[in-house]
């Protein structure tokens, strides 16, 4: 598994966990009757902070752990060429980003439709971040699939 694949796997796991946490919290709020603007926006902040901070630290950790495992396996101290990003990596990343943006856009549109059909604004904001995280997960799955297939 290349460095890029490891990074994508880490991102996929992160965002899946974040989505799980988000859905659990939203369901808890709905069942507990605490689905209000204060709680929803606090959850927004938590999800965005988790997405940024956890992804950065997980990527750094992956790099360090990969380097240690590689050094133990091969006895080499220097990083290999596998850590570089070439044109195929960039094209795969571009395809994943395209799908992520497409799903985000559809999600944004659907979220706004709920507002149009008389739902409270909180529903729109809740769905916006849901579709954002789902789009990231689908983009990562596509990237991994393209890596496994070759291109």
């Amino acid at each position: 598994m290349s460095f890029q694949q490891k990074n994508i796997t880490v991102s996929l796991v992160n965002f899946t966990l974040i989505l799980g946490f988000y859905l659990i919290r939203v369901i808890q709020m709905l069942l507990g009757g605490s689905f209000n603007s204060t709680n929803v926006f606090r959850l927004w902040g938590i999800v965005i902070a988790l997405a940024v901070v956890v992804t950065i630290f997980a990527t750094i950790l992956t790099h360090i752990v990969s380097a240690i495992i590689h050094a133990i396996k091969t006895g080499e101290e220097k990083s290999t060429i596998e850590d570089i990003e070439d044109e195929r990596d960039r094209l795969i990343d571009l395809r994943g980003t395209k799908v992520t943006y497409f799903i985000s856009s559809i999600g944004g549109f659907l979220s706004m439709l709920t507002f149009v059909f008389g739902q409270p604004p909180l529903v729109m904001f809740t769905l916006l971040i849901f579709f954002g995280v789902v789009a990231q997960i689908i983009g990562d799955v596509l990237r991994l699939y393209l890596y496994r297939r070759g291109f």
Partner: protein
């Protein structure tokens, strides 16, 4: 209209160049080994720049490495 297929002789050329490994070729042309594997399996067509770098690595003209078959279509 489907995508046209670009064939290559990278595997054969590696063999005739002192059995050069995929890793060695990857390092020479500045890509990952996975990209060389994808090209050899016909799953990835390189950019023109990379194609020239591969031809230079084997020290032969570009058309001896890559060939274009307009009749073959891929999915």
């Amino acid at each position: 209209m489907g995508k046209r297929r670009i064939n290559n002789n990278i595997r054969k050329l590696r063999f005739f160049n002192d059995e050069m490994t995929q890793q060695e070729l990857a390092q020479k042309v500045g890509v990952t080994r996975q990209t060389i594997i994808a090209m050899e399996q016909g799953k990835y067509s390189p950019s023109l720049e990379l194609a020239f770098r591969i031809a230079l690595a084997f020290d032969i003209p570009l058309d001896e490495v890559f060939s274009y078959d307009p009749e073959t279509e891929t999915n």
